[in-house]
């Protein structure tokens, strides 16, 4: 097992390198000039810009630029944003927590809802409930996040005024508000974005759980358990669900990168200053170091999710052996 884990970790390195090379090439191929994005047309002169470009090494051949970046990364230096001159690591650090909070909440919600709905659908196969859930799942999978977000805001924030439209917390709270009040308040702000982010995830988990559950419903051990005189609830919880949930657990881990990806859209709609918003802006500005830094973090997250999926699978299924 340990050898397997090590091997997996080593395999992640070429994957990461591949991703960074790909990203670097894509950014270079995209049109635009980061130094011109905010150049002041009144006060900046051309020679100044050429000097800045030379200082930054933007005139060097691409491989030179890439290896310089890589050399810095190995030393733990993500570089500075070309636009704000702030350290990329610092910018990511401040926004990382926001994104993690959003995605973690969405992960929990979508897992609970997805598995719950999937089990119910399977147990009540071909019932009205099953059809309703199936319809909802397909809606969840097919409605784009930005649209769902806008609809939720229009209905629950503007029409019924149940939740705030955007932001992270009420900025006008009295200074003596208790910790509980603050927690309560910021939770209200999470509801709509988390639902938006969870919808496709919950839907795909529900579909997965349903089919996985249907598989085990017809297994002989179900009959055995019932024959032993176990109550239906116990059969479901102790004998069926653990077997059905196994592939679902891997799916949960594998869906994690989708959540991070979805946060790009959700953060923009709901004005969450997280990594997604940072990434969108960096892409528009063609701010290479920032885009590379964010891509690197997202790729690490993706590889870690895959890794967790593998480990979980091994841990939950005694039949799996990695030697």
């Amino acid at each position: 097992m340990l050898v397997y884990l090590l091997r997996r970790l080593l395999m992640a390195i070429p994957a990461l390198l591949g991703i960074t090379v790909g990203t670097f090439l894509l950014i270079s191929a995209a049109p635009g000039d980061p130094l011109l994005a905010y150049a002041s047309i009144d006060s900046t002169d051309h020679s100044q810009l050429e000097r800045a470009r030379a200082n930054l090494g933007l005139d060097d051949p691409l491989p030179v630029q890439y290896f310089r970046w890589l050399g810095n990364i190995v030393q733990g230096n993500l570089g500075r944003s070309l636009v704000t001159q702030r350290s990329v690591a610092g910018e990511i650090a401040t926004s990382f927590g926001v994104t993690v909070r959003l995605t973690a909440a969405a992960l929990v919600l979508s897992s609970l809802v997805g598995v719950g709905v999937g089990v119910l659908s399977a147990v009540r196969q071909y019932s009205l409930l099953d059809y309703a859930f199936t319809l909802l799942s397909f809606l969840g999978l097919s409605v784009p996040g930005f649209f769902l977000g806008l609809v939720l805001v229009a209905v629950f924030a503007l029409q019924f005024e149940l939740f705030p439209t955007s932001g992270m917390s009420t900025l006008t709270l009295p200074p003596d508000a208790s910790v509980w009040d603050r927690f309560w308040d910021s939770t209200r702000y999470l509801v709509l974005p988390v639902i938006t982010l969870s919808a496709p995830n919950a839907a795909s988990l529900a579909r997965f759980t349903r089919s996985s559950m249907l598989d085990v419903l017809n297994q002989p051990y179900r009959t055995t358990a019932r024959a032993k005189g176990l109550r239906e609830r116990r059969v479901l919880w102790r004998h069926l669900l653990p077997n059905a949930i196994l592939p679902v657990i891997t799916i949960v881990a594998l869906r994690l990168p989708h959540l991070f990806g979805g946060s790009v859209v959700v953060e923009t709609i709901f004005n969450f200053p997280g990594m997604g918003m940072l990434g969108v802006r960096a892409a528009i500005d063609k701010d290479y170091p920032m885009i590379m830094g964010i891509t690197l973090i997202f790729s690490v997250l993706l590889l870690v999710s895959n890794f967790i999926a593998d480990v979980l699978y091994a841990a939950f299924d005694p039949r799996v052996r990695y030697d």
Binding site: G32, D33, L35, S40, I41, S43, Q48, Q85, A157
Partner: protein, 561 residues
Amino acid sequence: MLRVLKRIFYTTLMATLVFAAAPISAREDTVVIGAPTTTAFRNNPLWATSSADFYVFPLILPGLTWFDDQMNPVLALAEDVAISDDGLTYTFTLPENATWSDGEPITAADVKFTWELKSHPALLALPQPPAGRGDITLVAGVEAYSSGQADEISGIQVIDDRTVSFTLNAPNFLFLGNATLGILPKHILGDVDPAEIVNHPYMEMPNVTSGPYMLTEYERDNFWRLEARADYWGKPANITHVIVRAFADNQAQMAAMEAGEIDVTAVPVAEVERFENLDGVNVVSRSGLGYYVLHFNLSAPRVVENCSAETAAEAYTGRAPLDDVRVRQAISFAIDREEIIDVIANGQGTRIFSSIFGPDWLDNSGLEAYDYDRERALELLAEAGWTLNEKGDRLVNDNGEPFRQLVYVAQAGQESFDLGILVQDYLGAVGIPVEIRLTTSSNFLPTVFGEEWDLARNVGGTLGRDPSESARFYRTCAGWANAIGYSNPAWDELMSRGAATTDLTERAAIYNEASRILNTELPSLFLMAPNVAWAVSDRIQGFTGSAGGYITWNLTSWMIG
């Protein structure tokens, strides 16, 4: 199992309702302003470039001057200004008891320090040099200082603790409007190596302030929290707490206003109707100074890099067939400005006839209005040798060669797209095909510096109230602002005279002449100045929108109630 799921379902439902039903009561003594932060920004007046910066900095780190609602420069940090008879020297006096929020006095040395910082060679060598509002190069000695040939800016003299004078290269009527750069505290930043100053904590969190407010909390892309200073030396603000909330997405900003989460926001003219019938919200609108034009590509791009009066005149030929002024005039007649105002600005805008517009004292006589007239356009095109083909869908010349397809470029956005479609229709109707190319913001200037375009939507921007501010777009070798490569020595001379003259009658005559030149030669298609509008909660009294969009210009006079 089912029961458990039901229980989970109902618990979730209950919790949701409880959350929803129990928003915690907000404090009443706070005004919340929505600010667009679609661009990356630094929390520092040296780089103040986005709207949010211009909302916040006048309140915490004002410059010597700022603008009133008409965009006239007015004194801000300075208490008094004396202008020498030759118009060359401006002497500012700071108030006697003015202090920073940490108790240190605000002195003339702070002023000189800040201006030198903005033009310091080390900062100019950054990938993004300081771009705060105000053209410092008007001051004598800035060039020598920026190039490292001088240790200080000779044109800025500290006379005593409260008095500082600026000597200009040439008399310039506009200097007061360019003295708006937010003044920084020398006692905090004075000992920092300018090359390292961008990393100083103060540049991210300016917590020592000179204005009526202190900055007590700041989260990037989220909010600024300001609190009125108890020890403020000038007229104290009525409202104790001000929050400026950042919005990366305009729809989120509009929704927050509709839901009452923010009290004040600028509203795109196309969204005005949404707020007009909303309870508890007032809409304020006025004519703006936004400059809405389409530039023609008139020069080879190398001129931008290596410009002199000779090369400019030589290169100012334009891209055929747009080099023929009759073709440009024909295009101007083929455009329906009224419809553009309807579509783009929801009917709320004013037509403009040149880049010179705004103040009441301007003389607009003798300008061609270019009312929509397709026949007139076709006549002019015929004079220039272009007639419609037999099918009537394409211009051809005598040799039967078709009129080249024109390329329209603009920064991607709904408005740019809508305008592109209109232009395509108008020019299509006179037999000129148009291709629409939208670019990202970082690719717009590189595109315009390239050769592959004919019509470019300008990057918005607001002109100052004074007509001489438009000089930078059309002055020979004005650098990137004149990326289109227009050059007309007679026009340059008029603009220099206009900026150096103080007599309004004389100025009106000068600018009328300058205006006529642009109106005839049409380096750009002059379209309109859209109105500016705001939605304001009715619990805020005293709001007056500024034509330049500087929402907080009179915030200290606002009241809640």
